[in-house]
């Protein structure tokens, strides 16, 4: 028990950041799973984060309510973004989303009333890690449900081949629109969780760093299954901590090498349903053959 407490004291914050990154990774996964590579999770996180910080700061609402507002704000922002972006083809969309991330930074630097500008913003409340965990569990469960619903099936089809999906009656743009909104809601929640954990926001808080963390987490963990991004976020957050413990001098290099090795040996991520199915198919085939031969 004591050992557990010690561990929590030392690595509790790592776990909290891993959970927050899991929100971001899931948010990215939401669009990725419909074949859209977008960095706009950063934007949704910023909207959610600043919204939560400001409402808690000025309107004195409760943390729970502000999480809700952050989710709604993120979702709305995502809906607007989706309307503009869904006209674009893949690579252009990726660029446009990067551009939006950079614009967000400029806006948050130049709109001190909303964001505290260059001075940053103090967030008066702190969220309990347990609450973050519960929230993450709820969100993850929602992704599990999505995966096993008609939406999940449709989104996989759209990801693999939007043209074919459309001739089967699946409207790709609408599915992707929904994906964006989900991404916005989850991103907004993640942004608020980050705000209530760091308790200090600046224009740097929601910037390229998050963009790479989230995409790396999603792909590293496996972008073909809802559980992948969660696993990826934990691995990606823990990597630097572990490297710091073992090879403090070259921790960044070591972190890069670890990431590299994972990708080289498991290029589709740690959780790869396709690989599982291939193995299962092989077993099935063996069984059938034995039946035939018998």
């Amino acid at each position: 028990m004591d050992a557990l407490l010690d561990f929590w004291a030392a690595y509790g914050s790592t776990v909290v950041f891993a959970m927050i990154n899991a929100f971001f990774a899931l948010s990215t996964y939401a669009v990725l799973s419909t074949g859209v590579l977008s960095f706009t999770t950063v934007v949704f996180a910023a909207v959610g984060g600043f919204l939560a910080a400001q409402t808690v700061g000025h309107l004195q609402i409760s943390i729970h309510l502000s999480f809700l507002l952050a989710a709604i704000g993120g979702g709305l922002a995502a809906a607007v973004v989706a309307v503009a972006f869904l006209k674009l083809d893949s690579h252009w969309m990726a660029l446009a989303s990067l551009a939006l991330v950079l614009i967000t930074r400029v806006v948050s630097l130049n709109a001190p009333i909303l964001t505290g500008g260059v001075n940053g913003l103090v967030v008066p409340l702190r969220v309990d890690p347990i609450e973050v965990a519960i929230l993450l569990a709820v969100v993850t469960f929602a992704f599990y449900r999505l995966h096993n619903s008609w939406y999940g099936l449709a989104s996989r089809a759209v990801r693999e081949d939007p043209a074919v999906a459309s001739t089967m009656g699946i409207p790709p743009r609408r599915i992707q629109f929904v994906a964006f909104v989900i991404s916005g809601v989850v991103g907004g929640i993640g942004g608020a969780a980050l705000a209530f954990t760091l308790q200090f926001l600046s224009p740097e808080t929601y910037f390229i760093g998050i963009a790479f963390t989230m995409i790396a987490s999603a792909v590293l963990g496996g972008s073909f299954h809802w559980f992948g991004p969660v696993v990826g976020a934990f691995v990606f957050t823990a990597l630097p901590v572990m490297m710091q413990a073992f090879v403090p001098q070259i921790e960044d290099v070591a972190k890069g090498v670890a990431l590299l090795l994972i990708m080289i040996f498991m290029p589709r991520g740690l959780i790869d349903p396709r690989a599982v199915r291939l193995r299962r198919a092989a077993r099935l085939r063996h069984k059938q053959e034995r039946a035939v031969n018998a």
Binding site: L32, L37, A84, K87, L88, D89, H91, W92, A94, L95, A96, L98, A99, L100, L102, I103, R105, V106, V107, L109, N110, A163, F212, I215, A216, V219, L220, S223, I250, D252, V253, K255, G256, V257, L259, L260, M263, I264, P267, R268
Partner: protein, 295 residues
């Protein structure tokens, strides 16, 4: 008017760097299908190696450039063979390669930090042409002229290589599908090495020139180029060198003019907002890359 012209040239030279970098970046993107986040570090490393060649070995300016370019190319090959080659066999696609390249970015960046002792270095003033030259009514730094010419030469050369030669056809073939190219007898390995080298070398050139011109040789050098270079590639229509060159130059000029006439604090914001607007109005980029797949 004078100021306008001066800033125009400044923007053009700056944009030429973006374009030069973008050409290399776009080459791997369009032919090898890799969105390479580590590309920026090639530029950083090219500048660093060029710098040490000058400081330690006292090599003259052109040699320093050549050494830097070579370093960029070789680094690109090494990264490709260690990181991307295994993925090709496993068909990991764009995302896998993207994350691998992020891993290399982390590694090479922090190694570059060690190599420069985390400092930003600069080529000693005496080791490169640093006078101002009168071009018509305006005074232009020699490095800007060199940069502008370098872009023109590289853009034309690479365009011709890719579009008009058999090597270029082989490069495009391998980029599409190694097996399909192999069926045509193309040695995919060699072509990939060649492409990687060429891409690394071009971006390396941008790195050395940029490092010299901005007095900033450090691990942060490539990062700035990366975003702008990517923008140039996409806006230009990503399989067209001409588009990249033009888009890069425009990007530089817009950036400088927004800084001069609108507001520097808003510079990036305005530049990227324009970019976004352009993309939404013209969703396939400047040269609207032609599709080659059927519905």
């Amino acid at each position: 008017m004078h100021l306008f012209l001066e800033q125009f040239v400044n923007g053009w030279a700056l944009g030429s760097l973006y374009a030069l970098f973008g050409i290399g970046f776009g080459l791997v993107f369009s032919t090898l299908g890799i969105l390479n986040a580590a590309h920026g570090t090639y530029a950083s490393w090219a500048a660093i190696v060029g710098y040490y060649a000058v400081v330690w070995l006292n090599v003259p300016f052109p040699v320093a450039i050549a050494v830097g370019v070579l370093a960029g190319g070789v680094l690109a090959i090494v990264v490709d063979q260690i990181g991307f080659q295994p993925l090709r066999a496993k068909k990991a696609g764009l995302l896998g390669a993207l994350i691998t390249s992020i891993a290399f970015w982390i590694i090479l960046d922090s190694l570059a930090g060690f190599a420069t002792q985390q400092q930003s270095l600069a080529f000693p003033a005496s080791t490169y042409p640093n006078r101002m030259v009168a071009v018509g009514p305006v005074m232009v730094p020699q490095m800007q002229i060199i940069t502008i010419l370098a872009l023109i030469i590289c853009a034309v050369g690479i365009y011709l290589l890719i579009q008009k030669t058999r090597i270029g056809a082989a490069m495009r073939a391998v980029g599409w599908n190694e097996v399909a190219a192999g069926l045509g007898g193309v040695n995919a390995r060699v072509v990939i090495l060649l492409t990687a080298f060429l891409a690394g070398a071009t971006s390396g050139l941008a790195g050395v020139l940029g490092g010299i011109a901005t007095s900033n040789v450090s691990f942060t050098l490539g990062e700035g180029l990366l975003l702008k270079g990517f923008a140039a590639v996409v806006v230009g229509g990503f399989d067209d060198v001409r588009g990249t060159a033009i888009a890069g130059i425009c990007l530089g000029i817009i950036e400088v003019f927004v800084g001069q006439y609108v507001s520097t604090a808003m510079r990036d914001g305005v530049t990227y907002a324009l970019l976004l607007l352009f993309l939404i109005l013209r969703p396939r980029g400047l040269f609207g890359s032609t599709s080659f797949l059927r519905a």
